[in-house]
């Protein structure tokens, strides 16, 4: 069955290839659509705005069609595992907190959000004791605060805590 190893299979290679090719076709179609709207021909003053992107998009669609064609012809024995369930879990275990982290930056500012993010990681995935978690996560934010706000004078997003401490 799978050449990739013992774990349960979350997604097969062929499916992933086909999905990606279809995504490329969709992107190509969007670009072609907008290029035609703007004019992809030879105008009075030379090539119109959509001229170059139009042909780019044509090549995208042509390549995607070839990739799709090849993927569809993949025989079952060549259909390797794309990602196993366990692997996917690990990847999502990082990806989801990262998305939450980015959302938190807008609300709490980057320094507080980073403390929460690193602490979450160390405690949940690393199982560290609390004082190590606290030292690392808070130390990290203090370090970056010193470098960016004080040394290089580059303001990063700040939230209610910084306002409270009068650090804005």
């Amino acid at each position: 069955m799978s050449a990739g190893g013992g774990g349960r299979v979350a997604l097969r290679h062929k499916t992933a290839e086909i999905a990606m090719a279809l995504a490329f076709l969709a992107i190509g179609a969007i670009v072609i659509f907008d290029s035609l709207r703007l004019g992809a021909r030879w105008g009075d003053e030379g090539p119109q705005t959509g001229y170059f992107p139009f042909y780019i998009a044509l090549i995208i669609c042509a390549s995607a069609a070839m990739i799709l064609f090849r993927a569809l012809r993949l025989r079952p024995e060549q259909d390797r595992t794309f990602v196993e369930v366990e692997q996917l879990k690990l990847v999502l275990a990082v990806l989801v907190p990262t998305a939450v982290y980015v959302a938190l930056i807008g609300w709490l500012g980057i320094y507080v959000a980073s403390i929460a993010f690193i602490a979450f990681f160390m405690r949940w995935l690393g199982k560290y004791v609390w004082w190590k978690v606290a030292v690392t996560s808070i130390g990290n934010s203090v370090f970056f605060f010193a470098i960016f706000e004080i040394w290089f004078k580059i303001p990063l997003p700040k939230g209610p805590l910084e306002t409270l401490l009068g650090l804005n």
Partner: protein, 502 residues
């Protein structure tokens, strides 16, 4: 010898205390970046680029800034070898070939020898490439001063077709990835008429996609996701490097001078023609295995098997700066980021740089000599320190790298939208890598898209839409011809293989 004089002047510029200090800072930062998973030459430089904005505004500051950034790049090139040899984890794609013989050597307790061989041959490769840059780039620049839009478009065409012809990935995936880059570059304001396109009414897309964000996401977040999947147990050989081992290895290394010369040549060629450091290191390893009399022992821990890929990778990585400086066409993603830096600091890369910014160019070239010496000193003395970084558990290092990437993405334009885009590009990078879509052409297309389009349209305006302008004289004709040859190389080589097979 104009070049020698210019170079000596360059040394005067580069040899200030401040610049020397920046070199060491850059190299050390670079090695750390090269050792850490998820941070590499390209995104490391991209993340640190905003820190140089202020520095570049002081008089002579652009030279200091480029010295800092290029030294980070040299450091990252050196750093990749450490993880490959000690941990069997290539810190950078171009050090994959170094693991083949480097890691077996380390397992046999010859880590010191392998590291010394790797660092020394990296240095030799870089040195050869810098000498090539010193003498070749003024010639190329002078030549390129005569270029018009058709010639420039032919250079761009050659760059991108070389990717299709040379890359190990399937040609259609290379093409798709590259064209996606061009499409992303087209988003925003049309460089010629100023019309908005592909923005679909959102204000976020007015300025288009910034390739720095793409680099940080694709190479940073994407790489971390990949590393995670492969499991997190770093089991490394111990790293001790004393002077005795270094000297013994140095005594042995001259034996491999033929390999060194060949690998440097392969590296320089692949760096200038945008093939990049990664294919150069594989090619050089393969060639060395074929020609060496110990060829069948390769893969079991041969010093020659470390020398070959390291020399080529460093030569290619260094010489990739030649087309970036002289033509404004970078040969690798990291060179592209450096080019982006130049543009942000208000310098226009290309042939005029050699006329208008002599101090900058020759200061940079001189700093390449000095930076690589600094690099060699740093890595030979501090290996245990850098190896210790890898022993920090992933659950600590991964979120910190994510935070660094987020800060880097934010500081490019002070925009939260960019941070979101970074995450999107990260997922894209992960999927692309898994499906073997190459990332380098995507990044280069985002960087060069607008300018390739502008030169194409200018050329077409001059010729009134006649495509034959790209064959109108010997120079542009041969470049276009070579580009088309490279583009169809996968088909041609398939044909050759078929004919031979019969």
């Amino acid at each position: 010898m104009d070049e020698i004089q210019s170079l000596l002047h360059g040394f005067e510029v580069a040899l200030s205390y401040r610049n020397l200090a920046l070199m060491f800072v850059g190299v050390i930062l670079g090695v750390i970046i090269g050792v850490l998973p998820g941070l590499g030459g390209a995104n490391g430089v991209a993340i640190l680029l905003p820190l140089t904005f202020a520095m570049a505004q002081t008089p002579g500051g652009t030279t200091s800034a480029i010295i800092l950034l290029s030294c980070i790049y040299w450091g990252a090139l050196f750093g990749g070898a450490i993880t490959s040899i000690l941990f069997n984890i290539p810190g950078e794609p171009w050090s994959v070939a170094t693991t083949f013989d480097g890691y077996p050597m380390a397992q046999k307790g010859r880590a010191g020898e392998a590291l010394t061989a790797a660092f020394t041959s990296s240095f030799v490769g870089a040195l050869v490439a810098v000498i090539v840059i010193t003498f070749l780039s003024p010639v190329v620049a002078r030549f390129a001063l005569e270029f018009g839009p058709p010639e420039f478009f032919a250079v761009y065409l050659l760059t991108f077709c070389a990717f299709v012809g040379m890359s190990k990935e399937p040609p259609f995936k290379t093409l798709a990835s590259m064209m996606l880059g061009f499409a992303l570059a087209a988003v925003g304001t049309d460089p010629v008429t100023g019309t908005l396109r592909l923005t679909f009414g959102t204000t976020h897309l007015l300025t288009g996609f910034d390739f720095l964000i793409a680099v940080i996401g694709l190479f940073g977040i994407g790489e971390i996701l990949l590393t995670l999947e492969e499991g997190l147990a770093f089991k490394g050989a111990s790293a001790k490097l004393n002077m005795k081992v270094v000297l013994e290895t140095w005594r042995e290394l001259p034996k491999y001078w033929v390999t060194s010369i060949r690998s440097s040549a392969v590296g320089c060629f692949m760096g200038i023609v945008p093939g990049g450091a990664t294919p150069a290191s594989f090619m050089s390893y393969g060639v060395a295995r074929r020609f060496s009399k110990d060829g069948d022992k390769f893969g079991t821990g041969q010093v020659e098997g470390v020398v070959a890929p390291e020399t080529a990778a460093h030569a290619a990585g260094t010489s990739a700066l030649l087309p970036m400086l002289t033509l404004g066409v970078p040969g690798s993603p990291t060179a592209a980021v450096l080019l982006g830096g130049l543009l942000i600091w208000g310098l226009q890369p290309g042939p005029l740089l050699f006329v208008e910014q002599k101090d900058f160019v020759w200061g940079l070239i001189a700093s390449m000599y000095l930076g690589n010496i600094a690099g060699l000193i740093v890595v030979l003395t501090c290996v245990p320190l850098f190896a210790a970084i890898l022993r920090v558990p992933f659950s600590v290092i991964a979120p910190i790298i994510m935070v660094i990437c987020a800060i880097g993405a934010y500081t490019v334009h002070n925009s939260m939208f960019d941070v979101w885009m970074m995450v999107v590009f990260g997922v894209l990078g992960y999927v692309f890598k898994k499906l073997s879509y190459p990332l380098a052409p995507l990044v280069l297309a985002i960087v060069l898209g607008d300018r390739a389009e502008a030169s194409f349209r200018q050329a077409m305006l001059v010729s009134q839409g006649d495509m034959s302008v790209f064959f109108s004289n010997g120079l542009v004709g041969s470049m276009t011809g070579l580009a088309l040859f490279l583009l169809f190389w996968p088909v041609i080589s398939l044909g050759i293989a078929r004919v031979r097979g019969k």
